[in-house]
C-alpha cells in the first residue's frame, strides 16, 4: 500500500514537473508564444475550442499587461485538477511597479496607460477563477484557473 501511495505521489510529481511551462515575457513576440503554449496545453487536456480560445485570450491580456506595465516577467502554465475536472492554471508574475489600487484596477473602464481599461475585469470574465496579489513597488502576480467545461 505504501509503495502504491508513493508511486502515485511520484507520478503526480513527475506529471507536475512535466506539465509546468515557464514562458519568460519581455516583448510582444513573447505574448504570442505564451498564448500558443496555453492553447496547446488546453487542447491536450481536451478543452473545447471555445474554452481554449477564451484561455488564450486571457493569457494574451495578462502577458501584455506584463510587457506594458512591468517591462518583463513570466507566465507559468500548469495543469491542475479540482474534484473531477482537469484545468489550466496560469500565473502571470512580474516585479514591476505593482498596482496602487486593485479595487480600482478591477473596475470597468479604469486604466492608467491610456488603453481601454478593460484588461483585468475582462480577463476575469474569460476564466473561472481569478486572484490578484500586488504590492505597490514590488510587483504583481495574477493567478487564473480555467476548468474543462
Amino acid at each position: 500500500m505504501i509503495l502504491v501511495g508513493n508511486a502515485v505521489v511520484e507520478r503526480n510529481l513527475a506529471a507536475g514537473v512535466e506539465n509546468e511551462i515557464h514562458v519568460p515575457i519581455a516583448s510582444d513576440q513573447d505574448v504570442v508564444v505564451a498564448r500558443h503554449k496555453g492553447r496547446a496545453l488546453a487542447t491536450e487536456l481536451g478543452f473545447s475550442g471555445r474554452d481554449t480560445t477564451l484561455l488564450a485570450t486571457a493569457i494574451s491580456e495578462l502577458a501584455r499587461n506584463i510587457v506594458s506595465y512591468a517591462g518583463r516577467g513570466e507566465i507559468v502554465l500548469r495543469t491542475t485538477h479540482n474534484s473531477d475536472r482537469p484545468g489550466v492554471m496560469v500565473v502571470a508574475r512580474d516585479k514591476g511597479p505593482g498596482i496602487a489600487s486593485i479595487e480600482q484596477a478591477l473596475r470597468e473602464g479604469y486604466s492608467t496607460s491610456g488603453s481601454l481599461g478593460l484588461g483585468l475585469p475582462g480577463v476575469r470574465r474569460l476564466v473561472d477563477e481569478f486572484e490578484i496579489v500586488s504590492e505597490f513597488g514590488e510587483g504583481t502576480t495574477v493567478t487564473v484557473r480555467k476548468w474543462k467545461g
Binding site: 504570442v32 475550442g49 471555445r50 480560445t53 477564451l54 491580456e61 501584455r64 481601454l116 475582462g122 470574465r125
Partner: protein, 117 residues
C-alpha cells in the same frame, strides 16, 4: 510576419496569414493607411480568418486603423472573425463598433461589397 495586401479594382484586400504580434499589427496599420491613397482604393477588406485570438490590443488597433482609413477616404470591412474569437471578444468586453468606420462583413466570402460614400 508581414500581411500581404492585394489590389482588386478599387479594393485592397489584406489577408492575415498567421498569429500577429503587436508590432505586426502596427505595421499592417501603417501599410494600409499608406496604400489606400496610392492605390486609389475605396474599400479595404481585412480577412482575419487566421487569427486565433483577437485581444484588446488587436481590436483597438483594427478600430483605429479603420478610423484612419476613413479619414483617408475609404471604408474598412473586417471579415472572417471565428465564432470562438467572437465569443471571447464579447466576454472580454470588446466591440468593433460601427461608429468609427469599421464594420464586420456579413459574409466572409464577400469580395466586392458595396462601399458607401
Amino acid at each position: 510576419m508581414e500581411v500581404p495586401i492585394l489590389k482588386q479594382g478599387e479594393i485592397l484586400i489584406a489577408t492575415v496569414q498567421a498569429a500577429l504580434t503587436d508590432s505586426d499589427l502596427l505595421q499592417l496599420r501603417c501599410a494600409l493607411v499608406e496604400k489606400v491613397a496610392q492605390a486609389r482604393a475605396r474599400g479595404i477588406i481585412i480577412d482575419v480568418t487566421a487569427m486565433d485570438v483577437m485581444d484588446s490590443f488587436a481590436s483597438r488597433t483594427m478600430r483605429e486603423m479603420a478610423h484612419m482609413i476613413r479619414l483617408r477616404g475609404a471604408e474598412t470591412v473586417i471579415v472572417g472573425i471565428q465564432p470562438d474569437v467572437a465569443f471571447a471578444m464579447v466576454q472580454l468586453g470588446l466591440s468593433m463598433g460601427g461608429h468609427d468606420g469599421c464594420r464586420p462583413g456579413r459574409r466572409s466570402g464577400v469580395l466586392t461589397p458595396k462601399f458607401t460614400g
